[in-house]
Amino acid sequence: MIDQLLVEPFRSPYMQRALIEAVLLGVFGGVLGVYVVLRRLAFISEALTHTVFPGIAVAFLLDASLYLGAFAAGALSAVLLTVLTLNRRVNDDAALAVLLTTFFSVGVVVVSRSTSFTADLTALLFGRILAISTGDIIQTAITMLVVLVVLALMHKELILRAFAPESARAMGYRTDVMDLALNLLITLFVVAAVKAVGTVLVIALVITPAATAQLLGRSIRSMMAISVVVGVLSGWIGLVLSYRASVDHDLRLASGATIVLIMTVLFVVAFAARKLLDLRRTRVGAG
């Protein structure tokens, strides 16, 4: 049993690399997600996952580093997003949607000029965690280290900004600079994760574990712990599940999407558990 779940699926080097990448992204997304969820930035994160797309597309066509292309497009959009959301006159939510689809369209137009349109697009949109190289893992690890250090340094300010934006401004903090910094950190995560799970599903790695943690956790520290555990656990279960399905039942399941699906299942279980706990407490309180 243990052999089938822990050892055997990870005999081959590509599965080992996938596991390392999944664990790294689980920790990385789990920690970052807590800040994102507390700031209610789900939509901004979603926008950033799509805006890196044209960068990847151009880099892909020019045979340049995907990493660099993604980061260039991501950083540009992070700046634009911060500026747009500072301007209260345009409805944030609509402005984000327009920006997101605009960047994404540019990506699609660029890719649609290429001859291998369909194959390229699917690779970019869905990601390939099983094709992760050692170089990719090192890039992810370094990016994660940088982001986590910055988050640790800004921790108390980011929490203050999330909890009481007016007080943060009154105390003289440059909240616009802090917003830009957080958006850039999210961009870095998207860039690191996009190759493994693809443009559309990156959002899940940030939001879903942290949302699960929000349902169960009582403090920021416990939220972070739960979020990381959910992220890592989903990565491992997802990989094993897609491996077993392929080996035992000849059923091919996309690994990245399976990981996300496991996260969603854990979230739903947490939601139901929370609901039951609340119901019982109400009944005890009322009785």
């Binding site: 006159r89 409805n91 609340d278 407490r281 109400t282 005890v284 309180g285 009322a286």
Partner: protein
């Protein structure tokens, strides 16, 4: 008009409101007074039939609250509305008539006239075509009162109507409310401003989760009772007359 009998509301096992009893007749005006979190908004929602009662009963215009809702005018706080929303001042006032116009049908001549008259009553006829959000805070509050007037309701519920309004607006609102009461309407105002309670209301309901006192304003808002409601934050100055409630 409005009868509250031993009303209690519970949220998740704790008491949000308890032991509220009051009878409001035509032409009367009641101030709901209490610190933040005392349950003033909850009580307004209970009168609208929007929260279930744990105990007691409420009768609005002789009917259960749910059935009476369309005949009650509720005035929210002006700050709760999106200033960028594309509606004109005239349109906002006309909204008071929607329930009597009914689904699908469009507002007619009579509705437009009623809305125009209501807007005139709060002195903002010249701003009818401006966007709601371009008005000042006090003017927005006046428009919302005009909407209640246009609704021609016999019971008005106002949520903190004097919060952050200028002196002109306050005077005008007091006049309009006085006229409505003279016409036979009953008014319930939630507020934490004791001066306003004295100026605008005949009765007061002092509450902090449970009802502390109910009766004529002068009797209810006495220093000992206020101290009971506000605790240490009510300072009694110079004998019995002046009471200062420090903000929470």
């Amino acid at each position: 008009m409005l009868v509250l009998d031993d009303v209690a509301v519970r949220f998740g096992g704790t008491d949000a409101l308890d032991g509220i009893g009051a009878t409001v007749s035509a032409g009367e005006s009641v101030a709901l007074i209490g610190p933040n979190g005392a349950g003033k908004s909850t009580l307004l929602r209970a009168i609208l039939g929007l929260v279930p009662l744990a105990r007691g009963s409420i009768e609005v215009l002789g009917r259960p609250p749910q059935e009476a809702r369309r005949s009650v005018a509720y005035v929210p706080q002006a700050e709760s509305l999106d200033p960028e929303f594309p509606v004109s001042v005239a349109q906002v006032v006309l909204m008071g008539r929607y329930r009597s116009i009914g689904w699908i049908r469009r507002p007619g001549r009579a509705d437009r006239d009623a809305a125009a008259a209501a807007l005139h009553r709060v002195g903002l006829s010249d701003r009818a075509d401006d966007r709601f959000g371009t008005l000042s805070g006090g003017q927005r509050q006046r428009v919302l009162i005009a909407r209640a007037v246009a609704q021609a309701s016999r019971l008005l519920l106002l949520d903190e109507p004097f919060n952050g309004v200028d002196a002109v607006t306050q005077k005008l609102l007091l006049e309009v409310l006085g006229e409505l009461r003279a016409d036979g309407a009953a008014v319930v105002i939630s507020t934490h401003d004791l001066t306003v309670a004295h100026l605008a209301c005949s009765e007061a309901c002092l509450l902090n989760r449970h009802q502390i006192a109910y009766g004529p304003v002068a009797d209810t808002l006495s220093p000992p009772l206020l101290q009971q409601a506000y605790g240490a934050r009510a300072l009694v100055l110079a004998g019995d007359e002046a009471v200062v409630v420090t903000p929470s």
